[in-house]
């Protein structure tokens, strides 16, 4: 994750927040041996070399030359022609100081287009789908163990549930796809205020009525029991009767 985060940060020239939780960070976990791909090379993003800088008539830091929302940058110590000032105040697309409203908005619009591009670059969700169920479950991170145990229990009771583990924000198009292809969606989160559910309603056009929150926020890691009971409660007596 750290590797991916650094690559994205340099490709997109933007800070990337890696979110973990205390349970993962502080407790002992059993996991498969860590592996490293020797073929991997870091993506340093759009950095101009000395030759490239010298070939330019002039270097403009925030110019969207390739129309992908991402300008080129230069490193200190390479060429005086590549020098620029990262200013704390408003700047235009050429990297110069500005108080002009139009120029300022051009830069903000480019940043929006860059954020849209980020949707195609960040990790896609992990989806475990049976292809037959119209019930889905959305969660993030370390709740995976509890979720899969709950799905196992529910499947044995005749209630198969598809699972989408979202891995990044902004949401990739697979997130929209999963939400569209299920009728009832449980949003399972360790959050009193159901913020993941809110984010889904803000960022996608999923009808709110499809989403049902399962919230766990007593400070301890989630259990499968909590998920199973909440799912059974929501799916109603009809289903329960069928299981009896």
């Amino acid at each position: 994750m750290a590797v991916q985060a650094f690559d994205l940060a340099e490709r997109l020239q933007t800070p990337v927040f890696v979110m973990s939780d205390l349970d993962i960070g502080m407790n002992d976990w059993m996991c498969p041996d860590l592996k490293w791909d020797d073929g991997y090379r870091p993506d340093r993003g759009k950095v101009l070399s000395k030759e490239e800088i010298e070939a330019l008539p002039k270097f403009h830091r925030y110019l969207d030359k390739d129309d992908d929302g991402i300008p080129y940058r230069t490193l200190p110590g390479v060429s005086p022609k590549g020098a620029y000032f990262t200013r704390g105040s408003g700047h235009n697309q050429y990297g110069g100081y500005t108080e002009d409203a139009t120029e300022y908005q051009v830069v903000l619009d480019r940043l929006a287009s860059k954020f849209r591009r980020a949707r195609t670059l960040v990790p896609s969700p992990v989806i475990e789908a049976t292809g037959t169920s119209d019930v889905g479950l959305v969660a993030i991170g370390s709740s995976r163990g509890a979720v899969n145990e709950a799905r196992d229990i529910l499947a044995k009771r005749g209630i198969p549930i598809d699972y989408m583990r979202i891995k990044a924000f902004p949401f990739t198009k697979e997130v929209d796809g999963f939400l569209a292809s299920h009728e009832k969606i449980f949003v399972v989160e360790q959050n009193r205020d159901a913020q993941l559910r809110s984010l889904l309603t803000l960022e996608t056009d999923v009808p709110k009525s499809k989403l049902h929150s399962i919230l766990h926020y007593n400070g301890l890691p989630m259990t499968s029991r909590g998920i199973v009971e909440a799912v059974l409660a929501e799916l109603g007596d009809a289903k329960r009767a069928a299981l009896a």
Binding site: L34, P76, A83, T86
Partner: protein
Amino acid sequence: MSFINKPKVRHPDLPTNELGLTRRDYEGAMSTLCAGCGHDSVTASIIEALWGLSLRPEQLVKLSGIGCSSKTTAYFASGAHGFNGVHGRMPSVATGANAANKDLHYIGVSGDGDSLSIGFGQFAHAIRRNVNMLYLCENNGVYGLTKGQFSASADIGTKSKKGEENLQAPVDPCLAALSLGGTFIARSFSGDKEQLVPLIQAGLMHKGFAMIDIISPCVTFNDHVGSTKSYTFTREHYHEAVHADYIPPRQEITASYAEGEVLPVQMHDGSRMLLRKLDKDYDPTHRGKAFEYLRTRLREGEHVTGLIFVSESTPDMHDMAGTTDVPLNQVPYEKLHPGAAGLAKILKRYA
């Protein structure tokens, strides 16, 4: 405030340095600070110092936080990369940049607001790490950019422009740096170019964290009677204890000094500082004595300037971390990375 940019012409007789560059090649954009601002004088001293050292502008990295002083990085060396970061956070940017490329020259411009309040934590740890950089604290006793509130360096009993009195004890950047293990600690005054330019040069060449507390009066908000950082007060009450001259590696010392009059200090790259004590009781190599001297003079209403303390033998951040001679950002990936075999070795430790 100036409204007209200086025309880009160059007098044919303008002196050039070893690179064939004139002082104008070290200038930046036009300053938008108030007419008479101390910071603009400091900027002029920086330009003079850089020109005198014959540094390539692209070998310099300019860093700053937030405040009037932090704006000044745009006003010199436009051939150098500059990064104006968030309030009080310039030291971390400097540390990271320096970690990536130790061969560039780093100059951090900050103020009493940026360094001694919100930035106090970062300031302290950059000193402890002995990050190899020049750190300028352009000190005027107020938050100038936000119109004149007292900063943490304001002396007790001083009055704001509107007559409010400061009752809180001041932070003295030099005393703070002395207790934090600072290896090059100086104080100067924006109006004293003769003292300031060699200090800037020596500070840039010092291998470690070089701090200069520069009294830089705020003409708009703190230059009145009742201020201890006004032009008048500074000229009357700030006195030099040690004068430092910077001698580049290839230059010979031509002036003659009587024995015991100067203390030569050898620097890492072959250059030297000549310290001339104006007060024979002063010892710029003894941390505790320097601290006591400053406090004693303060009780008599005198503020000490000059090269207050210097140690050329303390390891800098890269020495402590044991990094390669080649800057980290130039070490090829193949050399940097231990690969799958290296990972397997690490995992074996936990088997």
